[in-house]
Symmetry: C2
Subunit: 160 residues, 2 copies
């Protein structure tokens, strides 16, 4: 059903190792550094969960957003992904080339296109959601549910 995706190499291949006997200096007290470390660990889990699908976190995010907001514009997509409009366009191209989404003219605004998932996109998204959510929870199993909620809350405050 789903075509074999093009080969894909994650941008980050290795976790940020904790080397014994090394002095980390100021890094241990910097939120930015610890955030990055945790994020790389979660990214590798994500990559494991989506193995074989050539899915990156931004691509997954885009699929979820289009799925939850049919007809979303590409500018909005870019804002939520934190990338420039041109990047949002390439992302949409990527989805369209693989038959996961399509552009449809928006009635009432001749400039913009709305992005919609195809049946195939819906199917892939459902699969990915299951896998990613499962892996996310598995990786986060070192936290109990109170800690997990607390972490989400603190991250939300930080991101503003």
């Amino acid at each position: 059903m789903l075509r074999v995706p093009s080969p894909y190499r994650p941008r980050v291949a290795a976790p940020i190792a904790r080397v014994a006997g090394l002095d980390y200096g100021v890094l241990d007290e910097l939120l930015g550094y610890q955030l990055r470390r945790a994020q790389v660990a979660m990214f590798l889990a994500f990559h494991a969960a989506t193995r074989g699908e050539a899915i990156t976190p931004p691509r997954f995010t885009a699929l979820v957003l289009v799925g939850a907001n049919p007809g979303i514009g590409q500018s909005t997509l870019g804002q939520v992904l934190g990338i420039a409009r041109s990047g949002a366009m390439m992302m949409t191209d990527w989805m369209e080339e693989r038959g996961l989404a399509e552009r449809r003219r928006r009635p009432g605004d001749g400039r913009s296109w709305g992005v919609h998932l195809t049946a195939r996109g819906e199917k892939l998204l459902a699969l990915l959601k299951r896998r990613v959510a499962a892996e996310d929870r598995k990786r986060a199993a070192v936290l109990n549910s109170r800690e997990r909620r607390e972490l989400l809350r603190l991250l939300g405050k930080l991101a503003g």
Copy 2:
């Protein structure tokens, strides 16, 4: 004293916006997504703190590590940065080209070089440490000190 660094554009220019009225679906419950959002926010703060110095987070990390562990090898550097050996080499080249660090032969092992900060590297590092730590605390001011400690603890658990 310090030369004007080469122009540098951050890889991420925009925060991950929170768009009102949009359905974020499963994203709000994924640690990976919230982690990424917070990390981008902190990265932009980092970028603001190091404005004009062409410093990236990996470069800052490398400087801190070399400063705290004089004579560290490039392989170890790569491990801690989570990049391949070839990348650690380019990082060392970068520091050396700017007169921030230098390679010195290691007695007892003819294969490896130890990386050491120069006086100029020490000076820049001291400046950056002050600025980055200040910005990190400023950005994290939305958290009280208990929350900040708790966040660091939870991130540490997650990163393993």
